[in-house]
């Protein structure tokens, strides 16, 4: 699954993250490979607890340690390996090369500083500007995300949720990073605001030529924004490919299950088909396929060992042994419309 000769903004190989707590070792991320080309958007999809946020935090080396432990071959961002960096170098990379939009705008902003100060801080650090100049630029950023510059002197509690998320976006983009990680940027927002924020992110991404990783459990957003998709389950990527490959030629039973869980607005009579059961306890993961206990197609072989990645054409890969049988196909049929 290599993509040589292309300029990669991100190249992560065999990323593992575990938390060593009193109650046992939580295996949050278990061998994730991500490669992303410049200016592309990758959707990282999966249910809560799949390890998406941990993956993102690990790429920024923001996993608190202890209890977190990162093991990885390499995390190369724009040609630099984050794994070999000193704290000082990491500070330089964060915010400038790679930055992050957090899930909950209500808690992501520091309540005791004005939004202007919070945007300016990043500019001050990375562009070595004076406090005053940084603030001027912060006001510009604020206007860029659609907030009147005059509000730069106000505090987070004076803003609505959607406005706060715009501020968070402004902070993330303040230094024009090459890679932007957006962790469920719209989950905490009203539906109407969601659309606005997404639109804003799409526009700014284009304007700044930023590459992006969008973490979400909302397949609708993925379809709208992403070029490529990775489906994550229990700390592993179970299926990956272009948007078209994963959405129109779904291979993994878990991905199928995700689609089955979305209400279909065109066919109100169709029933939801939720995935039964829960994700396995990350302190004691099964030896075989982690999805086997919930999988309608599971056989005894599934519980024996981790399925390997299988090439499905194009850039499409799936981790499922069912495809050892050339006639196997999942039930989901792609209907156009």
């Amino acid at each position: 699954m290599s993509q040589e000769n292309k300029e990669l903004i991100l190249d992560v190989s065999d990323l593992k993250v575990r938390y060593e707590t009193e109650d046992g070792v939580v295996h949050a991320v278990n061998g994730v490979n991500i490669q992303l080309e410049r200016k592309k958007t990758l959707g990282l999809v999966g249910e809560t607890g799949a390890g998406k946020t941990t993956t993102a935090m690990a790429m920024m080396r923001l996993i608190p340690s202890p209890p977190g432990v990162i093991e990885c071959n390499k995390i190369i961002i724009d040609g630099m390996d984050v794994m070999n960096m000193s704290p000082r170098q990491l500070e330089e990379v964060r915010g400038q090369e790679i930055s992050m939009i957090f899930q909950d705008p209500m808690t992501a902003l520091n309540p005791v500083f004005t939004v202007g100060e919070q945007i300016a801080e990043s500019i001050e650090i990375h562009e070595k500007l004076s406090k005053k100049d940084a603030f001027v630029k912060a006001v510009e950023m604020l206007e860029m995300v659609g907030i009147p510059g005059s509000r730069a002197h106000e505090y987070p509690h004076q803003f609505s949720g959607g406005m706060k998320q715009r501020v968070v976006i402004a902070i993330a983009l303040a230094c024009n990073p090459k890679l932007l990680i957006a962790d469920e940027p719209t989950t905490a927002l009203d539906v109407t605001i969601q659309a606005q924020v997404l639109e804003l992110m799409k526009r700014l991404k284009q304007q700044y030529d930023t590459s992006m990783i969008l973490i979400t459990h909302d397949l609708g957003i993925v379809a709208e924004v992403c070029d490529e998709v990775m489906v994550m389950y229990a700390g592993r990527i179970v299926e990956q490919g272009t948007l078209k490959e994963v959405f129109n030629h779904t291979k993994h039973p878990y991905t199928e299950g995700l689609f089955g869980s979305i209400p279909n607005i065109n066919d109100r009579k169709s029933e939801l088909q939720p995935i039964p059961g829960l994700m396995p306890d990350p302190t004691e993961l099964p030896e075989g396929c982690t999805f086997a206990s919930r999988c309608p197609y599971a056989t005894e072989d599934c519980e024996k060992k981790q399925p390997e990645y299988r090439y499905m054409g194009g850039t499409h890969y799936v981790a499922c042994i069912a495809y050892d049988d050339p006639d196997f196909h999942i039930k989901r049929r792609v209907t156009n419309g």
């Binding site: 992050m100 520091n110 309540p111 005791v112 509690h157």
Partner: protein
């Protein structure tokens, strides 16, 4: 904001009336006849009776209290039964020593508790944390007067670095009493700082700050501490007010000529105007410090400021 301050100052009036009445009333219940103290040891019965007449001790309590309040409204706190000196003047003579000690002590405790508390929270559940937790617990369990005595034995009597008592002017005589009070307060404040920092340290906005490239030191000292400050200054304010009101024990141990000793001595002498005066002024100071702390909140946390101006 100004309206809030004025409102708070007006609320002081009923508090002071209450406190002065309670103290006046309690002191009146105390055994011992103030007339005997005023008239002196060799006084005859007639002389004592005359004192009773002059001072109005034969009037009912409520009349005496009303007379006292009449004077108080005019700014006259009466004069001591014992020394015959003006209460306000006597208090003012003693206050500078107390103020000096209070400021020094609160600086000691702020420095100690912020360093230990933040350090402890950042290293939660490691041996470093455990050491500071135990230190704080020790400080909390040590009677102030005993710590003072130990410091005297070590640093005044054995090493001879500092004087063992009295306010000799200069900073040397201030060191031991300030450390005694400061250590004791620091113990409580370290615990507050630690738990307040632990509340803040897992907040998302610190992650936002780290993701911006802010250095870890600045994340803790700037972003986190600023948010953890409210409970810390609350405790610091209360402690500061108490020391200002009279660190009786430390003043006793170090023979420090502050208002705490003045109050206790007057209580022992049944010097009602002096006691009432001291307690009223002390309460006033406590309330004003409290108000200052509340105003300080507004500068630390903009959300609180918004509440005041409502």
């Amino acid at each position: 904001m100004h309206r809030y301050i004025i409102k708070r100052l007006l609320m002081l009036i009923p508090v002071l009336i209450c406190v002065s009445f309670v103290i006046y009333f309690i002191m009146d219940l105390a055994p011992g006849d103030p007339a005997l103290i005023i008239a002196g040891d060799q006084a005859t019965d007639e002389m004592i009776e005359k004192v009773r007449e002059d001072y109005g001790f034969n009037d009912p309590l409520i009349i005496r209290y009303a007379n006292y309040m009449k004077g108080l409204l005019k700014g006259d706190m009466g004069s001591s039964y014992v020394s015959k000196k003006d209460v306000w003047e006597t208090y003012c003579q003693r206050f500078p020593a107390t103020a000096k000690l209070s400021v020094a002590a609160i600086i000691v405790s702020l420095v100690l508790s912020l360093i230990l508390g933040v350090y402890s929270a950042v290293n939660q559940n490691t041996w470093k944390d455990n050491v500071s937790v135990v230190l704080a617990l020790l400080g909390l369990s040590m009677p102030q007067f005993w710590l003072g005595l130990l410091l005297i034995i070590a640093f005044a009597l054995n090493l001879g670095w500092f004087p063992s008592g009295g306010d000799l002017g200069g900073w040397r005589s201030l060191v031991l009493p300030a450390i005694t009070i400061g250590t004791n307060n620091a113990a409580l404040m370290t615990r507050t700082t630690r738990s307040s920092m632990l509340d803040v340290i897992r907040q998302d906005y610190l992650c936002t700050a780290r993701a911006k490239g802010v250095s870890e030191k600045k994340v803790i000292m700037h972003h986190a501490l600023r948010n953890a400050l409210i409970p810390i200054i609350t405790i610091a304010g209360v402690q500061f007010a108490y020391i200002l009101g009279g660190a009786v024990l430390v003043e006793t141990v170090f023979a420090w000529p502050g208002v705490g000793r003045l109050t206790v001595d007057s209580i022992n002498m049944r010097d009602i105007p002096m006691v009432t005066g001291c307690v009223v002024i002390t309460t006033m100071i406590v309330c004003v410090v409290q108000l200052l702390v509340d105003i300080l909140y507004a500068y630390v946390d903009p959300r609180i400021k918004a509440q005041y101006t409502k």
